[in-house]
């Protein structure tokens, strides 16, 4: 079994999902090699993950990898991994992972499974389970060709802790090949948003918010505890929130520790996107709203009254700790 975990890093920090996958692979009795890609200078990131139990860490370096590109990543990984006899390649199902991993799988003419929530390693075979229909159901996937190529959903597994011992860190030149699609410009977000799919806590609003300005009520509450703000399809379609905030079957599927649904009735397509949240809170004026059937805690009340009170209460809690 020769498993390679493609590590993701941003602004000198390893993404938590990389550690989550490492933790789960180790738990399954498989020790992967971690591969990092970049223009160089990844020493501290490599040293960081080397302490968490991989076989070794390989930094694939090339000036062309300073910025992310689908082809740069897929080409470099293919060139490297095909020499290593990889039996499985895994990465986080992040916006990068979702982008280059299908291309990498196609290079290997292999099967692919996205956004897995279970990994099972038996002997030298990996099987995974993944949600389909936005989580209305799940299925098991067995790979018939080697290497197995798959991505893992963030926030599903606990991150690997420090192991004490440190694995070797190697450097190699990345063979980036022909990169035709290149980032010409980066438009940074004007506000620092917590990414929905990686958030621990999400506060979502529905059409009851009445307009885009009122989402500030949710944002104020979210800011106190570092939560992300989401929206229902009804709110997005009404123009109250941009689509990148939409949770549900035609938006993002999320599984935070805590999901607070404010003024969301609980349509089947919304429930599909958030049902795997650990704890669900519903705040809704209508006591008959279907969301209460799925919520661990429910408050029948006006969100315009309840949410600001919640914000204050969380501020107090924050001040104490």
């Amino acid at each position: 079994m020769s498993v390679f975990l493609v590590g993701e890093h941003k602004e000198g920090q390893l993404k938590r999902v990389t550690l989550e996958i490492l933790g789960e692979l180790l738990k399954q009795g498989t020790t992967p090699t971690v591969v990092l890609l970049g223009k160089g200078g990844m020493d501290s990131i490599a040293a960081d993950i080397a302490k968490k139990g991989p076989t070794k860490v390989v930094c694939l370096e090339n000036a062309a990898l300073e910025t992310y590109s689908t082809e740069g990543y897929a080409n470099s990984l293919y060139a490297f991994l095909s020499k290593q006899g990889a039996t499985a390649v895994v990465a986080g199902a992040t916006s990068q992972g979702k982008d280059f991993m299908p291309r990498l799988a196609a290079k290997f003419q292999s099967g692919f499974a996205a956004d897995c929530t279970e990994i099972k390693v038996v002997g030298d075979k990996v099987t995974v389970r993944r949600p389909v229909y936005a989580g209305k159901c799940t299925k098991a996937v067995e790979f018939l060709k080697s290497p197995a190529v798959f991505t893992v959903r963030p926030n599903v597994f606990p991150p690997a802790p420090d192991k004490g011992a440190s694995a070797a860190v190697e450097k190699a030149a990345a063979e980036v090949g022909n990169i035709r699609a290149k980032i010409a410009q980066v438009i940074a977000s004007t506000v620092k948003k917590v990414e929905l799919t990686e958030a621990d806590v999400i506060i979502s609003g529905g059409r009851s918010l009445k307009n885009a300005e009122n989402f500030k009520i949710l944002q104020d509450c979210a800011n106190v505890i570092g939560a992300a703000v989401g929206a229902s399809r009804a709110a997005v379609d009404a123009g109250y929130a941009p689509h990148d905030m939409q949770v549900g079957q035609t938006g993002k599927t999320v599984s935070p520790k805590l999901y607070i649904a404010c003024g969301i009735s609980g349509a089947i397509q919304h429930l599909a996107g958030m049902r795997t949240s650990k704890v669900i809170v519903a705040i809704n004026k209508d006591p008959e709203a279907p969301i209460f059937q799925k919520a661990d805690y429910g408050i029948v009340g006006d969100l315009f009254e309840v949410v600001p009170l919640l914000t204050e209460e969380l501020k107090k809690l924050k001040a104490q700790s």
Partner: protein, 257 residues
């Protein structure tokens, strides 16, 4: 410009999913089939691209059993010029679908290829990546804006990445773009469009025609419904009391804050 749209027919978002007795798939009787919502944005972007360029043809292509012809006719009713059906009754995987689509794109000399960022049934979001690799063209996903260069040899695509950041990606044509919701508002089919679509001759290919051989690359099994969540506690009292109690329970009972 030879503009292509790769689309998939999927169960309506309101569908209640049931699993077959042998758990090998979902129950497919009594399903209302629709065009994958993200692919509708792709159709619209293809039609808009043709309008902006003031030339070209839009061809919709899908892979699937006979029922999927309906999705192609809808695309024609919206304004697509041509439709191609890769007919297969087998359950196929991403690789096989992508292989078939890539052969069609090559055969038909496609130039700009649009598709949705993911299909809402299988949620793999992988077909665009497989296809672009198999035809060896550049690609970009989660696209919210497209601008074609005046010489029509390259384009700029705006990609939504995490945390609200956007990347503007420049690439030569031919290429594959997987579009996100928000890129446009899909038009409705017009009455003359619907009439035209009914009579439209649809080109049919089989896997054999396209040289798609070999079996699937994955085996899928054991479909399961997630455990139902049950209703929890409703907190009573006035708003201030409710909120205090909620925070206490989230902290002490659920331990999530």
């Amino acid at each position: 410009m030879n503009i292509f749209v790769m689309l998939k027919q999927v169960p309506d978002t309101e569908t209640k999913i049931k699993v077959t007795a042998d758990k090998s798939n979902i129950e497919k009787n009594d399903i209302k089939w629709i065009i994958n919502p993200y692919d509708e944005f792709a159709i619209e972007e293809a039609l808009k691209t043709k309008e902006r360029l003031k030339e070209g043809t839009v061809t919709a292509v899908t892979v699937g059993p006979d029922r999927t012809v309906e999705a192609l006719r809808t695309a024609v009713a919206m304004g697509a010029d041509n439709a191609i059906h890769v007919k297969t009754d087998d359950v196929v995987d991403t690789f096989q679908v992508a292989k078939a689509l890539s052969e069609v794109l090559k055969k038909e000399s496609a130039q700009i290829v649009f598709t949705g960022k993911q299909a809402i049934d299988d949620d793999q979001a992988a077909t665009f990546g497989f296809v672009s690799e198999l035809v060896d063209w550049p690609s970009a996903s989660v696209i919210v804006k497209v601008e074609i260069a005046p010489d029509k040899k390259s384009l700029k695509a705006e990609r939504d990445v995490e945390g609200g950041t956007r990347h503007i990606i420049e690439m030569p044509i031919p290429c594959v773009l997987a579009v996100d919701k928000g890129i446009n508002t899909p038009r409705y089919a017009s009455l003359p469009g619907i009439m035209k679509a009914k009579k439209k001759e649809i080109k049919v290919y089989s896997f054999a025609d396209l040289g798609v051989t070999g079996g699937p690359t994955v085996k899928e099994s054991d479909y399961q419904l997630p455990p139902e969540r049950s209703a929890g506690k409703k907190i009573t009292g006035d708003a201030a009391t409710q909120v205090k109690e909620l925070v206490r329970m989230l902290r002490e009972e659920a331990k999530v804050i």
